[in-house]
């Protein structure tokens, strides 16, 4: 349709770079328009980037968002104006004049790799102070408490002492009881959340009590091709539990481990500290029986 108010410009301004704004920008940009995508925040992505799942389908929020962010970030037709706010808009449809204030970022975006070191080193932090949550009382037997305190006392230092402490508790008690972790948090003045994150990140820690004998089946590559999965299945059948579980009489805990470096003897299992190699499922089952009380 023609208009008498001068020529129309093939450019579009999209305000707000949330998932909606990004999708709109992408569609427009694909159709050949030059897009100016403005957001007052320092990054595109909007609120959705903070969500885990989205209603009502429970889709992974990041999975929906990330491809659009990447596409938007690299699209030649989209000019991103983040950390910017609109001051005024003049004109009419087809021919607007927009004044945008770009706030000082003090970082050269061409050189920044987004490593995050600068924010870690910045002395000024925006810390939100909340009422500290009620800390449950630590429930530990006097024996255990003194043992834990002794272990904690062995390692000085802050966060860097956590891993050795957790390892020692795990070796001593076969698992990490909640009360002990709380005790570590209390003495070391480290949030229990951080300790739990470490405890769940590493494979060797267990947050549940484990059996007297820890049976591990190596499922490293060499053992895998030499039949370790069948040994694992055999153990699951014989013990009546799944991998990772403990028998109800607390005799055995069955675990799969990634390579214990004895590939020359594959397939390999360990029961407690004893190692057995070159086993068929039937031989492995016989060995297991020897450990039964």
């Amino acid at each position: 349709m023609s208009s008498n108010t001068g020529e129309k410009v093939g450019a579009v301004l999209v305000v707000g770079a949330g998932v909606g704004g990004m999708q709109a920008s992408l569609d427009l940009a694909e159709a050949g328009y030059k897009v100016y995508l403005v957001d007052k925040g320092p990054s595109i992505g909007g609120v959705m980037a903070q969500l885990d799942k989205t209603f009502p389908t429970n889709d992974c929020a990041m999975c929906t968002l990330a491809p659009r962010m990447v596409d938007c970030g690299g699209h030649l037709n989209i000019e991103k104006l983040t950390y910017s706010e609109i001051e005024s808009i003049e004109g009419e449809a087809g021919n607007f004049n927009v004044k945008i204030r770009k706030k000082a970022r003090s970082v050269d975006p061409d050189k920044c790799t987004g490593c995050g070191e600068c924010s870690e080193h910045c002395l000024v932090k925006n810390i939100v102070y909340l009422e500290p949550p009620a800390v449950p009382k630590i429930e530990l037997e006097a024996d255990d408490l003194s043992k834990v305190d002794e272990i904690i006392g062995r390692y000085s230092g802050g966060r860097e002492s956590l891993l050795p402490i957790l390892q020692s508790i795990n070796t001593e008690f076969n698992w990490l009881p909640e009360g002990m972790l709380r005790r570590v948090a209390e003495i070391k003045q480290i949030p229990i959340e951080h300790i739990l994150r470490l405890a769940t990140f590493y494979k060797s820690f267990s947050l549940e009590p484990r059996g007297k004998h820890i049976v591990t089946v190596c499922t490293g590559t060499a053992c895998h091709v030499k039949g370790a999965p069948r040994i694992l299945e055999r153990f699951e059948r014989d013990l009546g539990i799944q991998t990772g579980q403990t028998t109800s009489d607390m005799q055995f805990t069955l675990e799969a481990v990634r390579c214990i470096g004895c590939c020359g003897l594959s397939p390999v299992i360990t029961i407690g500290e004893d190692l057995y190699g070159k086993l068929s499922p039937a031989e492995a089952a016989k060995i297991l029986e020897r450990y039964r009380d």
Partner: protein
């Protein structure tokens, strides 16, 4: 120190110890005493000999007689026959698969003769728990030379000239790494030895630490002197208890001699090493994750650059094997080292051979040796003369190399060009009994499990690829799945932050390239050619071969096998759970998998 006319170098690596090496040692000593030979013949526990498949093994020096598959009961026989009468015990010698008569001498056994030892120079030659034995074989000589007569620049020049590259996988030139840290003005500086050998199927780092911990310590002290570091860490996996024990002992001994601590050799140089034990996370092998782990943070990889730091200070992180090479280079010179190997990759590399291979174990070979030599001359080929199908190099993030490329010379560049990588040096040999789809599924399962979860493409992408592969193994694959796998693989490779994510699709992509027909057999014909994927195979009994011994029926957990004694048996397919017990039980090869 007493010296003996004969030394029995009994392997004390994890493999042999688990098979009773210590009991054999006691038995030998008992027998020697019985024959009053205890002052003539010494029994020495060494580190891993490398020939793990035949363990427990022992080498009798100086005659170099190689004994294998030893048992406690053999001790009396060996002492009586060999040490008293000088006749090697034939039954305990090694017989190569293709030959009939045993080969007594270690140097005549193909497995050993083609190897060239630099990083493993002391394996089987010394007791790793005695620092004097290490010194006796020129140990700490390089350190003395460096500390008393060389400038940092000269050492770096020497290491650069030698062409030594990181043995942990990526192959970054060691000299260049040291130089950049040396120039860094920040202090204190740190040295880290990466012994977090997470690749399933690789065990050279464990073996070096167990067999020769002082070579690693010496390398680290030299590195520390060069860059000006005062503190070092050895990051060892908790799955390696023996290695931790030996390293701890070695550090203590080195401290006692003043080789660690303050004022080393009276030169005013201070340096000390502590052990840091990992707790079971594959991603900790990645340098930025490793330092986070030491710092007590969540070990998620970080963006580089800036360069990896420990507590914000410069750090040199090298792999065990790299450190072990350093003293040898200083002692024998860059020229000697660089004369071994290929144009771009100098020196030797330690590989661990495992999987479907006769001589599973640890081998150190010059760079540029062909895969064929490794698999057949050293590895002794595939058991029962089966056909070689492929070799997986570089661990879970590496790729498969098919039989058609067996003549590939092994170095960093050639392996990359073939779609795989050097990695830490694991080599898993596969025969027709290995299903490539299953192996790819296995690696994806591993990587999906070990992905730290920081980057979405790696975390979600590996899960998605795994679901597709599982579907294919279940016989529910769809024709479009293969294209989806390739597309996903490309996306993950592009969009991940660290090496784990970037190389995660390799096992799938490389097996798709070389063994697409196997994937197609799973999807289109619903068949697993290797007879591995349970949903696609059935067990049956060959009526001709079955002797009716009832062994399989007795062992079957489902009571799915029926038949009268001395009559051919049959398997009830409705009851069969495909556990494979019958296959193992049968002595007549009468159980068929199809």
């Amino acid at each position: 120190m007493k010296s003996y006319r004969t030394n029995v170098m009994l392997c004390g690596g994890t493999g042999c110890v688990s098979n009773g090496a210590f009991k054999i040692k006691d038995a030998l000593e008992r027998e020697l005493k019985k024959h009053n030979l205890e002052n003539e013949v010494g029994v020495i526990m060494t580190g891993c000999n490398g020939f793990c498949a035949q363990g427990p093994v022992a080498v009798v020096k100086p005659d170099e007689i190689f004994y294998q598959l030893l048992k406690e009961e053999d001790a009396a026989h060996i002492v009586e026959e060999h040490f008293l009468k000088g006749r090697p015990v034939k039954e305990l010698l090694y017989t190569p698969p293709a030959e009939k008569s045993p080969v007594p001498k270690m140097s005549d056994i193909g497995f050993f003769s083609k190897q060239r030892l630099i990083a493993l120079r002391n394996r089987g030659m010394i007791d790793p728990e005695q620092i004097d034995e290490y010194i006796g074989r020129d140990g700490y000589k390089a350190l003395a030379k460096v500390l008393t007569s060389m400038k940092s620049e000269e050492v770096i020049q020497e290491v650069s000239d030698s062409g030594l590259r990181g043995r942990g996988g990526a192959g970054f030139p060691t000299g260049r790494k040291w130089e950049s840290r040396r120039k860094d003005p920040r202090t204190p500086k740190y040295i880290v030895c990466n012994a977090d050998e997470g690749d399933p199927g690789a065990f050279m780092d464990r073996s070096i630490v167990e067999a020769d911990p002082h070579s690693v310590i010496e390398g680290m002290i030299i590195g520390a002197y060069v860059v000006g570091a005062s503190k070092g860490y050895v990051y060892i996996r908790m799955e390696y208890p023996l290695a931790v024990k030996r390293m701890r002992l070695a550090i203590e001994q080195a401290r006692e001699y003043g080789l660690l601590g303050e004022d080393i050799f009276g030169t005013g140089f201070d340096f000390d090493i502590d052990i840091f034990q990992g707790a079971g996370a594959f991603v900790c092998g990645e340098t930025t994750a490793l330092v986070s782990s030491i710092e007590g943070r969540i070990p998620e990889p970080r963006q580089r650059p800036p360069r990896t730091t420990l507590w914000g200070k410069p750090v040199v992180i090298n792999n065990v094997e790299t450190w072990a090479n350093v003293p040898a280079i200083i002692n024998r010179g860059a020229k000697w080292f660089s004369s071994i190997g290929t144009e771009t990759s100098k020196g030797t590399k330690v590989f661990s051979l495992a999987g479907d291979i006769n001589n599973a174990g640890l081998v150190e070979v010059p760079m540029g040796i062909t895969l064929r030599e490794i698999v057949f001359d050293i590895g002794g080929g595939i058991p029962k003369g089966m056909e070689f199908k492929a070799v997986q190099t570089g661990g879970p993030s590496g790729g498969v190399i098919p039989a058609s490329q067996l003549d590939l010379p092994v170095d960093y560049e050639q392996l990359n060009a073939a779609g795989s990588m050097m990695g830490s040096g694991g080599m898993i040999i596969m025969s027709r009994k290995s299903c490539m789809v299953d192996v790819a599924r296995y690696f994806l399962e591993f990587l999906n499990d070990e992905s730290c979860g920081k980057c979405t493409p790696c975390r979600e992408g590996s899960g998605e690829m795994l679901r597709i592969l599982e579907r294919i193994c279940q016989g529910e694959g769809r024709p479009e799945d293969l294209d989806t796998l390739e597309e996903l693989g490309e996306a993950i490779r592009e969009a991940s932050l660290c090496g784990l994510g970037q190389s995660l699709p390799n096992p799938v992509l490389s097996s798709l390239e070389h063994f697409r027909d196997e994937y197609e057999a799973h999807i289109n014909d619903k068949k697993c050619p290797a007879g591995v994927c349970k949903a696609l195979i059935t067990f049956t009994i060959d009526k001709e071969k079955c002797k009716g011994c009832r062994l399989c029926a007795k062992n079957c957990p489902q009571e799915a096998i029926s038949g009268e004694a001395k009559e051919p048996h049959t398997i009830d397919q409705d009851k069969c759970i495909k556990c494979g017990v019958c296959l193992d039980a049968c002595k007549f090869d009468a159980v068929l998998v199809a």
